[in-house]
Symmetry: D2
């Protein structure tokens, strides 16, 4: 499990004064990038070096409470390798102050080669996932 | 069923040269706004006049193929009223030229009053949904 | 002079209910893409084929009136080639219904090769600009 | 002068692998929000309490170097009160590691009342600016 904190900003909210709902997935991806950084790596240069892409194939979120403008949040990421080629990131977004659950869901990622053919997750990625 | 066409732009793509995956939900919401417009209404002034909000409570997308930079897409929206207070928008995003499926999923919306208590969907909204 | 119309959406507005100000530049760039499309070309594949990049080096906007949620706008683009290597897009954004000026400004673009060294604007680009 | 650090993410970059240029203004606004937070205040609740809006009336940026994907940046904000009703934020964005200048420019803000009539900047805002 990996957890990281983000501040939300005016740029993230919609006219209802709450974070626009697709942005929740942006926070999840930011958390994934921070998870790699916490392992001393940078996600994008790493996957380029390995000659792969990691496209998202499914995304789901249940929205429990709105994220108010200017709130700080924590994203909890629980990554699991499924089979040889798939990573599933279960996530939970909580209020930084109250720890109330704001949203939860998952994002599924498949490892593909540069011809977009699914391929085994390289060990360098596998290690980051398994140690998170 | 409501269908509408969008052009994608440079601003929508990520460094892989394809539309950043949370933006698919943005297109779905744009289609919802166009559905109201096609009924001669504007979604936001309408819900403000009715004294309600329509927060998203669930969002799911399966990504079948990437949307390349500069592609045109069509969003097909199939809205259904579930119970008294919930709208489910099943969607499909297809390539405008080939009609290939690019993504499909749903977004669930609950009707709430200004105190964020769930409430019956007003007839004005109901009519738009049922005639789509 | 090239002019194109855009619908604005919920995703574009901030918590004040008006289009978030950096998005005005997104509309300007969308207009640039439409200008190439109107010439039967697609900007991005074209510049990739030509082996160049067209980074923005300056951007300025004066905001005269807010763009309300759900408004339609027209972007007027007046592109000029300055010297051998620079394009300046003077722009004006007007309300689609009233033609009131909402914003005006410019975006300056320099043509560079893949090593980011400034280079002469290729004729294919030049033709689009000069015929706009 | 106020300075704050931001991490850039995949969501911020375009297909050239660099931060999409309108997002530079997003970072400037985030820095403005952090400046209020550093003063123990929150910008948005404060301006709502004061019954004002602070719309942007001009924005300018010169782009010196691209911000690469995954880079960290620092935004330096130099706010000045001009006359009674106007704030000008001169900004500079530098690379967090090398301190190389990436962009510089300004954003001008006018204080208006709820009827959008320009009005004197309240002392609470003035204090934040003058102590930054």
């Amino acid at each position: 499990m990996f957890e990281t904190r983000f501040q939300t900003y005016w740029a993230d909210v919609d006219a209802a004064g709450i974070v626009y709902y697709p942005h929740f997935f942006k926070y999840v991806e930011q958390a994934e990038e921070e998870m790699f950084r916490a392992a001393g790596l940078r996600r994008q240069p790493l996957i380029e070096k390995l000659g792969i892409w990691m496209p998202r194939v499914e995304a789901f979120s249940k929205y429990s409470r709105p994220i108010k403008h200017g709130a700080a949040i924590r994203v909890r990421l629980n990554p699991r390798i499924i089979g040889e080629k798939t990573i599933r990131y279960d996530f939970e977004i909580v209020d930084d102050l109250t720890s109330d659950r704001l949203a939860s869901g998952y994002v599924t990622v498949v490892c593909v080669d540069t011809a977009f053919k699914s391929t085994r997750i390289p060990d360098e990625i596998r290690n980051v996932i398994q140690n998170a």
